[in-house]
């Protein structure tokens, strides 16, 4: 009797599985496989979920509205890294071989996982897109052939923030700026740039590392707010560290309009837990906020009105949602550019790399995609994997993010590009890489 029940259950499960897998199998055969290394679990899930939703919604929009890219459907599969390096590598290895051309481009959504995958993507010839995170010197495409940092790096972000502060203060000489940072590879990224800018502009830079996860920062903020009393504070934080810092800054009376966070410290999940204490807080972004763009209209109409959206309707347009969306756009347009050269079929990693290196998103292209105003124009090349992205400073009003600056162009020529080159050359020497020639 028991055997009969088990046998029936097994047959039923097999039938159900074959029915469920029929459609994906067909799409997988003809489609472009897109691996999604995301984190919807773990301590950083509140930040990972909206990013993953924005990314997934843009892929779904392309499939539902346009039938994919140039008629090639996108087959998207997520793997949860929990923002953990080991799991990130495991996810990459699990997904890289799927689909007819493999996981032909990857976005690890973590600086730590980026570092862990650098050698692997080089060996596997898979382009890795790290929009607004990862290793800044990877902008030098002659050394980092498989890594793309578009639209901005942490070094560019640090420079843009200092430019904003300079515009407010007129002269930075003699000013005191404190950097409160997550004590990790991510948090330490801007230090070199800020030290160079401190030397160049004559301001004093004080460093305040905050150990993971940053639940308790009272001592740090007593030092900052009651002892050092800097003119400005820059924050390079992630997760619960951000809201805790905002609350502790308010508790020592530090003015929010002199407190600027990097884009990973400037989303709704960072300011809402801090309540009205966060009002006036500033954050650097490489994209706009809100859902008042054509692309959002399409997403709502095509997905949410049909109950197919990945997120809640009211979360569409949140900062991290928009960032996931922008990241998906860069990948999709890289694939589209590659298809224009190689034909409308699933692209390989090498073909997508070519597509990304020839990607040009000017105002007209952004307008056509419904993204005008949401992000600044981009143009990548073999040499420049960053593409000239720009930064905007936004302020939290207590209910929404509003821009308080124009698009700021990071000082790449004569400053950042030189730093990228120098650091990339050092990396090439360590790894025994011969830089390629880019024309």
């Amino acid at each position: 009797m028991i055997f009969k029940k088990l046998a029936l259950a097994a047959v039923g499960a097999t039938l159900a599985a074959s029915a469920l897998s029929a459609v994906p199998a067909q799409a997988q055969e003809n489609g472009q496989f897109v691996p999604g290394l995301v984190y919807r679990t773990g301590p950083y899930a509140p930040g990972g979920i909206p990013w993953a939703d924005g990314f997934a919604d843009y892929v779904s929009l392309l499939n539902a509205r346009d039938g994919g890219i140039n008629g090639v459907p996108l087959v998207y599969e997520e793997c949860d890294t929990a923002y953990n390096n080991d799991k990130g590598v495991e996810c990459y290895e699990k997904l890289k071989g799927k689909g007819p051309t493999g996981g032909a481009s990857v976005q690890p959504l973590s600086t730590g996982i980026t570092y862990a995958l650098m050698d692997r993507v080089r060996a596997d010839k898979i382009p890795m897109i790290t929009s607004g995170y990862g290793r800044a010197d990877a902008s030098d495409g002659s050394v980092f052939e498989w890594i793309f940092t578009a639209p901005v790096t942490y070094w560019a972000g640090a420079d843009a923030i200092v430019q904003y502060i300079e515009a407010q203060e007129k002269d930075l000489k003699g000013k005191k700026i404190a950097l409160v940072y997550h004590d990790s590879a991510f948090g330490k990224e801007p230090i070199k740039t800020l030290q160079a800018l401190a030397e160049k502009n004559g301001f004093k830079l004080d460093l305040f590392p905050v150990p993971h996860p940053g639940l308790e920062q009272k001592a740090t903020w007593l030092k900052i707010g009651r002892q050092l009393k800097p003119d400005w504070v820059i924050m390079w934080g992630w997760g619960v560290m951000n809201s805790t810092a905002i609350k502790e800054a308010a508790a020592v009376g530090f003015p929010m309009n002199k407190f600027v966070g990097v884009w990973w410290s400037g989303s709704e999940v960072d300011v809402r837990p801090a309540g009205m204490d966060a009002k006036g807080y500033l954050a650097a972004q490489f994209h706009g906020a809100g859902a008042n763009y054509k692309v959002h209209e399409d997403i709502v109409k095509t997905l949410y009105e049909k109950g197919k959206g990945a997120s809640d309707r009211d979360k569409v347009g949140d900062i991290l949602y928009n960032r996931g969306l922008i990241s998906a756009v860069i990948m999709a347009e890289g694939i589209r550019t590659a298809m224009n050269k190689y034909g409308n079929k699933p692209m390989t990693g090498e073909q997508i790399r070519w597509g990304l290196e020839n990607l040009k998103l000017d105002d007209a292209a952004l307008d056509k995609l419904g993204l005008k105003g949401l992000m600044a124009p981009l143009q990548l090349s073999c040499k420049d994997h960053e593409g000239g992205g720009k930064v905007v400073i936004q302020q939290w009003s207590g209910a929404a993010w509003t821009p308080v600056s124009d698009w700021i162009t990071p000082r790449r020529d004569g400053f950042l590009t030189e730093m990228y080159k120098e650091s990339a050359a050092q990396y090439a020497k360590e790894k025994n890489i011969t830089p390629r020639t880019c024309n």
């Binding site: 919807r40 679990t41 773990g42 301590p43 899930a45 509140p46 979920i49 004590d183 460093l207 305040f208 590392p209 905050v210 150990p211 996860p213 639940l215 308790e216 009272k218 001592a219 740090t220 007593l222 030092k223 009651r226 002892q227 997760g239 619960v240 809201s243 805790t244 609350k247 308010a250 508790a251 020592v252 009376g253 999940v269 809402r272 837990p273 801090a274 309540g275 204490d277």
Partner: protein, 311 residues
Amino acid sequence: MDFLYNFFISPFVQIADAPLFFVEVLTGGLLSGVMYSLVALGFVLIFKASGVFNFAQGAMVLFAALFFAGFMDKGVPWWGSLILTIGVMVLLAMAIERIVLRPLVNQPHIILFMATIGVTYFLDGFGQTIWGSSVRVLDIGLPQTPLEIGGVLVNKFDIIAAVVAGSLVAALALFFQKTRIGRALRAVADDHQAALSVGIPLKTIWAIVWTVAGLVGLVAGVMWGSKLGVQFSLAMVALKALPVLILGGFTSVPGAIIGGLIIGAGEKIAEVYWADAIGGGIEDWFAYMLALMFLLFRPQGLFGDKIIERV
């Protein structure tokens, strides 16, 4: 030479130069310590009654806070949410006793400890399956503004947290010393089998102690959740409670408070005055180092029971 100066001279010069700031750091540290004690109390209760280190206490803090904030988000008033969450924590305690602990009666403590690791993963996942992983704002109207008393800046929220923790300790001390159930709890902690032989119902006692630990977790969850927002990271506050337990002793309720105060004040003073000499960001590991130093001299902690075993 610089290191020697920054380590042995500079901190004391700074304290002498700005004594009021030192008082501010010390006060801030003591008040932070009270918040650690709130979490440590839950560990102490279960260890005291069953000799088990409850690895799931941090997860219980998150679980309780998720339900409380979740009910409030659904439009239930705070008092209604509190009652409902207390109900959830009672049910949880009964379920843990029935499903996890009862089959493990008289098993070595390490087995029970391993079981609590399983409970941790279940609570982390189950709570987030029901309420999601997004940050929930928990506003129960506690003032967050700073207050200056005699030139010393203190946060009103921290003062309220201290009052809550103090009241909780007093209530728990009374419960353990003056009630029949409290005495039964202490008997169970001393010897399961002896307690059973004199008619103390072990199953009921365990359900009660897990309920009380759940309620302490709820209070900690509400206080920490009001401070940080209710999110997965709340489960990590358990990490802040461990050095408190090592220092205060695993079996002492007042020890959890005194340990919290020493750890809180110690780590803040170390971060402000000694971090520069060592390289910054020492707050977290300094608490453990302080606790380990105590271990060298008093392995049972400041107020823990001295274990004497016959050979």
